[in-house]
């Protein structure tokens, strides 16, 4: 299987929030919980850029490192998921996450009252049986198991938000960068996946092809 990643192309993102409602629609995420958000920088002045942000499914995910109940796990596609049955709603992951991805249904409340953490699953469901009602109710859709990509990226209005296999995503982005001659910095990419990750990945692929 490939290594799943997100990449948001700031030169293309128009802050339409299509990704946000696609996520709500696909996963029936309740009011107040936003697995995905669009963040705008330099709002209203030249240089304005927007970025769609959710869990980036980091290579060395800080949330996994700090979780006291070890409820996180990583799938073979590199998707970071968690087990809500183990989650105690402590919020450590929220403080560790560089992207503000973990959400709590009861919002900023006292310890123990926040509810179980919820976040983007890359539309890959959770630890319950694939495609089951329990999986859907706790974690949302499992599109990956159906051979589909996350709803947010599939529906992105300008194809700014890319999701999928690391090498394909970077190929598409590289092609755009070459065409327009700018916009090289893929926002959040280094934070999430580190500098060496891509090279390691490419190396693995080369070895695999031999």
């Amino acid at each position: 299987m490939g290594r799943m990643k997100f990449l948001c192309d700031a030169e293309r993102c128009i802050e339409c929030n299509g990704c946000v409602t696609a996520c709500k629609n696909e996963n029936e995420v309740p009011w107040g919980v936003n697995r995905r958000r669009v963040v705008t920088m330099n709002d209203g002045v030249p240089g304005e850029r927007s970025i769609s942000v959710a869990c980036m499914h980091c290579s060395d995910a800080p949330c996994m490192a700090v979780c006291p109940t070890n409820c996180f796990y990583k799938t073979e596609e590199g998707v970071v998921l968690h087990d809500k049955d183990l989650c105690i709603g402590c919020g450590y992951c929220f403080f560790a996450c560089p992207f503000g991805a973990p959400q709590f249904p009861n919002g900023p409340a006292a310890f123990g009252d926040r509810g179980k953490m919820d976040k983007c699953t890359f539309c890959a469901g959770g630890p319950e049986e694939t495609g089951s009602k329990a999986e859907y109710e706790k974690y949302g859709s499992n599109r990956i198991a159906e051979g589909k990509l996350p709803a947010c990226a599939e529906m992105c209005s300008t194809k700014a938000l890319l999701a999928g296999d690391s090498s394909t995503v970077s190929d598409i982005f590289r092609d755009r960068v070459l065409r327009r001659g700018k916009g090289l910095e893929a926002w959040g990419w280094m934070t999430a996946y580190g500098s060496g990750d891509q090279q390691r990945e490419q190396k693995r692929e080369r070895e695999g092809q031999k």
Binding site: M1, M4, I14, N17, T21, G44, R49, S50, E129, G164
Partner: protein, 968 residues
Amino acid sequence: MLTKKAAVAAGAGRRLRNAAARIVGQTMDRRAFLKRSGLGVGAGAIATQLPYNLIGSAEAANTAEKRTGSGNEEVRRTICTHCSVGCAADAVVKNGVWVRQEAVFDSPINLGAHCAKGAALREHGHGEHRLKYPMKLVDGKYQKISWEQALNEVGDRLLKIREESGPDATYWIGSSKHNNEQAYLLRKFVSFWGTNNCDHQARICHSTTVAGVANTWGYGAMTNSYNDMQNAKAALYIGSNAAEAHPVSMLHLLHAKENGCKVVVVDPRFTRTAAKGDYYVRIRSGTDIPFIWGMLYHIFQNGWEDKAYIQARVYGLDKVKEEVMKWTPDKVTEVTGIPEEQVFKTAEILAKNRPSTVVWCMGQTQHTVGNANVRAMCILQLVLGNVGVSGGGTNIFRGHDNVQGATDVGPNPDSLPGYYGLAAGSWKHWASVWGVDYEWIKGRYVSQAMMEKSGITVSRWIDGVLENNELIDQDSNLRAVVYWGHAPNSQTRGAEMVEAMMKLDTLVVIDPYPSATAAMAAMVRKDGVYLLPASTQFETYGSCTASNRSIQWREKVIEPLFESKPDHTIMYAFAKKFGFADELVKNIKLEKDAQGWDEPNIEDILREINRGTWTIGYTGQSPERLKLHMKNMHTFDVKTLKAVGGPCDGEYFGLPWPCFGTPEMKHPGTPNLYDTSKHVMDGGGNFRANFGVERNGESLLAEDGSASKGADLQMGYPEFDHVLLKKLGWWDELTEAEKVAAEGKNWKTDPSGGIIRVAMKNHGCHPFGNAKARALVWNFPDPVPLHREPIYSPRPDLVEKYPTHDDKMAFWRLPTLYKSLQTKVKDISREYPLVMTSGRLVEYEGGGEETRSNPWLAELQQEMFCEVNPKDANDQGIRNGDYMWVESPTKARLKVRAQVTPRVGPGTVFLPFHFSGWWQGEDMLKYYPDGAAPIVRGEAINTATTYGYDPVTMMQETKTTLCRVMKA
């Protein structure tokens, strides 16, 4: 179940990944790249290479079954109802419930993409905040009633008014959210009621475009397409914020931009579209003509005009040039506030990067000079030789999902379907298509004069109620209004609207979300208001026309929710009550719905449209052809919209009108209007000969050698009729039956389509002739577009130099003020110093009740706000996030959140127009019918907007008025 960490079967994973990579490598063509960017994930990659329906049935079904229990699952293809781009979406329906929404990567228009609204379509399957059953206002509160009672009481009240005051005492506000068939049926319905007092959203969105553009070169529509913008080398957006209003169009633009297209955005606001542009120009609201003339000044000065094109295809440019050359750079800067170098640079970008295209929306149209604004834009494109050219054109983005279609065939006060007008000949043409007697229809009207007189417009219905009876151009004032799929808060002068609502005898609202009108009425009335639940377009089926004139077919996704009924079913029910049911559906079969109501068959309605609408080529798009396109979307090329092979080979997606002749003639549709580089049977064309053949001794026809490719007549020629056909010796190419039908007729009224067939198919000629475009529209108030200051102008000095028009009497049946009002309020900017303008937000649509009732959208924009520049905010002591008051010269006051931002310049404030449900500081929640209030409510900007109308179409002025702001 997904494996836990450390349990990765690395070997197997790698093998799969490599297999996927190989498949992707082989099949990843350019189109696939565009279609599913981000494609190429392990199993996902393999699966997505399969035909879509295979995934749908094999895997998705399995999942959904587990999710929702057993049952049949079906995928139904529909079109988003929130704007004119026409994004396709697949609805997965299980046991009658809309359980999932999937992207349609095959659609050449949106390639699976959606904005916030499109990605939230499935909420229509919930509809929690909808009107669920008929209701009636009783003693100030809405009470549930039965459909039977509703139809009887409403019917009786309207019939009584008709009896007492005549058919013109009623007003019917139709909808651009009706599909083509419903919009068309409503025009017919209103005609049989006996009035032309009907209208819909097009009046207040692009009526000035339709009139201005059609009078320039023939058809009042977007000339090219969203897709064709991929071919542009430069694009000018003026008065359009496409990133919020038409987000998926940006898919095509950004693709063009990555291939070198230069994007210029001209707007009073630094919009999200401007953020994606290469060059931004801030203009003072309402000064578009001086800016365009300023550009043309530089174009003429530098010899950048396309002289050969102008000589062959443009009439009357000399007169325009005289006016343009008066607009020296200093004057342009004085009026627009734009430095000369920016005007020059914009002109240079457009001139040196051809083909260049222009895009405009409400920023151009909703002005007292709207018709002149859009003609100035047409002239700019003609001068640059950009019209009838792929990558060029005037890409006019329409608003609602079917506003183009409702304009083409729907309830317009000045025309029967297909822009036939209201002359006796037009009535006779349609009477014969409808299979009813012309004399019978005439008998339904007060007189032939009223039958041929344009009705009141939706922008002015309030004056039809409030104006002195002696001053209006019909017998009675309006006594009843039917809001049939239209928001009240999209019309200006809201403060006066409640007075009009108060004065009415009867107010009927037919809508899935009638609540804004309901609440406004309940605020001022105790009774006489009826709310009837209509279904959305997802609960019925039919065709809709996107902005690029492509027609798409929606399948019914779910059965009508609650007690709602589709609009055409309601029309038929009322027709029965009014006594013209048989006439309404003479050629249309009826079907029984689940509750035993009669529902007119939509396919039959479309076939009737096909049989009558020759003028604009709505004749070739039979239901069968449209459905074939929807099934074979993947065969159409994204850049050209042309099918390559397959069952639709050579046709353009959605058979964009004009698709001339009968369906059997197989015209492919017209992707880009007036394109002489193509044969007419391949979608080519030229400018329309609709304004005579000569004027003051000068020919209006195109010059020799300037005709569409392969035409037998390589010269200008008039439109075709039986006489021309005989003169050319082509008459005998008609069949005997066609000869009988075509005798004495022209191409627009020949019911056999024979004249069109012979002209196009046999001789490659355009049935509407081949003329020059008119830079000089002599039948308009300003034949050459002139700058005129808005009525409420921030510049009294310029009002003197560039005053507005003289007042008009009996204009669309009403007296209309211009100069007398402008003179009266000339110095009002001393008290109200800021320009107040309005626009869209991406999350909401139109009046906003529907989208503000959708929790997925409502969560993203929870409060009405006003954008105000830091300077103006600081001068008033307003801080970001504070409540503030916005007060207009009408004294209406809006309480909104301050958004302090340099997005607007000093001296201008911006408010979005999608809110309603607050009235001058108070939440109107208690006036809503129980359970039908939208989640988010806020002040409607139009509560405070002022008087002002376009002198051709009665378009309302929303974009330039004045206000003052203060801390609340």
